[in-house]
């Protein structure tokens, strides 16, 4: 019984939240990695692209709520999501046209594009804060829990409860669908194949008649969709605040690099690795240990390895370890 209780406590405080967080990071890292594979630069504006997409979604959600539209037990934001994606896609395509395309035609060095993306980051940051303000926004509605702790206790008779919030379930389901679609697209469709060819060998792809501008535009649209979905899921699960999204840049980049930048599979693995480590290192293990260890060994303290404020340190340390021992990342990042 004690062992089961420990298992449930572990699932409740570590497994479920970390899986949801990992799925959000993975979606974010996929966007970074796709940009890297096709456009060949690290996009520092990605966190703010996520914030922009989430902002559009929130605004549409509010409009829908005001119009009395709801999505039953699911959050209204899901209905607004397509609008968010469309808005973000328009925004990134516009940015590409106005800003990035010039440097692509010049064949500028990747690092110049990184600095350009810093400028875009400033602008998006400003726009988001001007439109929706720097404060925190909560836009989750609908059913709050799939299983509450109380129900679970009644169901199983254990003293520990397992609560699964609907946003957590939603995150995982959505992420699985999105990732499956993305891999199907990249592997089986003509456009996906041309994207992979372009990323693998640009000159050869041009020679076989692939239109580079079309590949780039489609990449941006996919990235806009991924960024918006990741941002909305994160916002539903936690809450939306422009500065938090800017700070997500670090774990997202860490995920992409740890997995091997340019490799979609690596981005997913990296996202989960970072998320699990972050949650496990900052979780207070007292409860789980009290159940599993004999009474005389039960810990007095919280058995928390690091305080939650150091969660960035976890992404960072994993990043450094991977870079030291396997500089190309876990999945030998190269191209998609």
């Amino acid at each position: 019984m004690d062992f089961l209780n420990a298992l449930v406590a572990f699932a409740n405080f570590v497994l479920v939240p970390a899986t949801a967080y990992g799925a959000q990071l993975a979606l974010g890292a996929l966007g970074v990695t796709l940009i890297y594979a096709v456009l060949r630069f690290s996009n520092f504006a990605h966190g703010d692209t996520m914030a922009f997409g989430t902002m559009v979604t929130i605004l549409v959600t509010w409009a829908l709520q005001a119009a009395g539209v709801s999505f039953g037990p699911l959050p209204t934001a899901l209905l607004a999501l397509p609008f968010g994606i469309a808005g973000t896609a328009l925004m990134v395509l516009g940015t590409d046209r106005l800003v990035y395309r010039f440097y692509r035609q010049q064949r500028a060095k990747p690092v110049i594009l990184v600095i350009v993306s810093m400028g875009v980051m400033f602008i998006l940051n400003g726009i988001v804060r001007i439109i929706i303000g720097p404060g925190e926004q909560n836009f989750a509605d609908g059913e709050r829990f799939i299983v509450t702790a109380g129900e679970f206790r009644k169901m199983t008779g254990l003293s520990e409860g397992l609560a699964i919030r609907s946003t957590q379930g939603l995150t995982i389901v959505t992420a699985v669908i999105v990732v499956a679609l993305l891999f199907w697209f990249l592997t089986y469709t003509r456009t996906g194949k041309s994207m992979r060819a372009f990323s693998d060998n640009e000159d050869l792809a041009l020679l076989s008649g692939i239109n580079p501008e079309r590949v780039v535009a489609i990449t941006w649209i996919i990235v806009a969709a991924l960024a918006t979905i990741a941002g909305v899921l994160y916002g539903l699960d936690k809450s939306f605040k422009p500065f938090t999204y800017f700070q997500l840049l670090l774990p997202i980049f860490a995920s992409a690099i740890v997995g091997g930048i340019g490799s979609p599979l690596g981005a997913i693995a990296g996202g989960f690795l970072i998320a699990y480590s972050e949650v496990m290192v900052t979780y207070a293990w007292k409860k789980v240990l009290t159940y599993t260890l004999p009474d005389n060994l039960a810990p007095d303290g919280l058995v928390q390895l690091l305080s939650t404020d150091y969660k960035f340190a976890v992404s960072f340390v994993i990043l450094v370890i991977v870079l030291l021992f396997r500089p190309t990342g876990l999945f030998r990042g190269k191209s998609i």
């Binding site: 350009v116 400033f122 439109i131 800017f246 840049l249 960035f312 870079l323």
Partner: protein, 432 residues
């Protein structure tokens, strides 16, 4: 310097003087002083990016370390806290460092194989718990001592100016650790690594109350210049001020700011002279050769990784020095005020807009961008006032637009950066 460069500097001087005439001389001197600090920071970033092409976006972290050094040097020590756990805290940290050094030694001594990994992990786990066992009670004891007023170890009580070189040293030490691990990897990786270390340094300042009082802030750091109140009560100063036709209150604030400006300008001039000398020396030419073609430079027998480490440390030390100057000027350390957009990316805008690879350009960028950063807000407020003048008072849109003025500066900085990159990619004063 060409005529155009002089004209650009004259323009900046005019902008600051204009602030003095139109707003107030206090505001103008505030912009000047922060402009001087920004120029020093920009010199540091220019050293790394302009000379060597290193992409460091952890400027915030290095500046914060400089600020911490000022606290550790200048604040009076707290004897009760030292008695409660001062020695134990440092012993704990020494144990932590020893554990890491031991792990590296194990990794190097033992041959390849599974044994090596297992031995190192076991050593690290045991070491971590030992470290926490010594460190945690000591921290608790220190933070329990009068938390409202102190709750930290305090500093050494030395003159604050000693904190400046120490700040540079502290930042240089951090840069050495990061450089050892992250240099030699691809440039984007260095960027992410520095971004991460900066966030970690800020997290340490926010959470390690025993060291920096965390979010309770350290206030009233001693100053290298006289206090305004003392000046106002000095009969001689009041008489002088009245001779000049100023009221003693304004005169004292302006006098103090002028003293700071003198100190900062001295630092800037010395650094600028050193940087120019370095750039035009064989060393500077070697650095630019490495930047432009690493393979060719390596073929000529230059140790690229070592040179990169060297310039990374030097540049970070300058950022640390600037951070120390800034915290001295603020005379308080508020860890939560460190925001990457303001302390890292803004400095980058200064370097790029001013002209990377040119020290004069970085200095110009430092002043110009800082001026914009400060003045965009009143300008934006005025603009919004004009736009919203037709709207009904108290309407939601009008309030929202007026509130959003504060974020105009981010937007402006982005636009300035993109415009310069597009139409004058080498900056206002390009590299020669």
């Amino acid at each position: 310097m060409t005529m155009r460069d002089r004209a650009l500097f004259a323009l900046v001087a005019l902008l600051i003087a204009g602030t003095g005439f139109l707003q107030s001389w206090n505001a103008a001197l505030f912009i000047l002083n922060y402009g001087l600090i920004s120029a020093v920071m920009a010199l540091g970033v220019n050293l790394q990016w302009g000379y060597a092409g290193l992409f460091n976006i952890g400027v915030m972290g290095f500046s914060a370390l400089g600020g911490l050094a000022v606290v550790l040097i200048a604040m009076p020590p707290v004897p009760e806290a030292w008695a409660a756990g001062g020695v134990r805290v440092w012993a704990g940290l020494a144990v932590g460092l020893g554990v890491i050094a031991g792990a590296i030694a194990i990794w190097r001594k033992l041959g390849k194989g599974r044994l090596r990994g297992i031995a190192m992990i076991l050593w690290l786990i045991a070491g971590f718990f030992l470290y926490r066992a010594i460190f945690d009670p000591a921290v608790e004891a220190i933070e329990a001592i009068d938390p409202a007023a102190t709750g930290y170890l305090g500093g050494l009580g030395l003159p604050v100016l000693i904190g400046w070189p120490v700040g540079a040293l502290l930042a240089a030490g951090a840069a050495w650790v990061i450089g050892k691990t992250a240099l030699g990897l691809r440039s984007d990786y260095l960027a992410i690594a520095t971004l991460g270390i900066a966030e970690i340094i800020i997290a340490v300042l926010k959470n390690e109350d025993w060291l920096s009082r965390g979010v309770k802030n350290v206030n009233g750091i001693p100053r290298p210049v006289p206090y305004e109140v003392d000046l106002q009560s000095s009969a001689e100063f009041v008489a002088r001020a009245q001779d000049l036709g100023l009221d003693p209150l304004t005169a004292s604030t302006i006098f103090v700011k002028l003293l700071y400006a003198g100190l900062f300008a001295l630092v800037l001039v010395v650094l600028l002279w050193l940087c120019e000398k370095a750039l035009k020396s064989p060393w500077g030419r070697m650095m630019r050769a490495i930047r432009d073609n690493e393979t060719a430079a390596a073929a000529m027998g230059k140790d690229v990784t070592r040179r990169h480490l060297q310039i990374f440390i030097l540049g970070s030390a300058i950022c640390g020095l600037a951070g120390a100057m800034m915290i001295t000027y603020d005379s308080q350390l508020t860890p939560s005020s460190f925001q990457p957009l303001r302390f890292t990316f803004l400095i980058w805008v200064m370097v790029i807009v001013g002209g990377s690879g040119n020290n004069w350009g970085s200095v110009l960028g430092g002043f110009l961008i800082w001026f914009l950063w400060v003045q965009v807000e009143p300008l934006g407020a005025w603009l919004m006032g004009v736009i919203t003048s037709g709207m009904a008072d108290g309407s939601a849109l009008k309030t929202h637009l007026l509130d959003s003025v504060a974020h105009m500066r981010l937007l402006t900085m982005g636009v300035v950066l993109l415009v310069v990159l597009r139409f004058s990619p080498r900056g206002l004063i390009p590299e020669r």
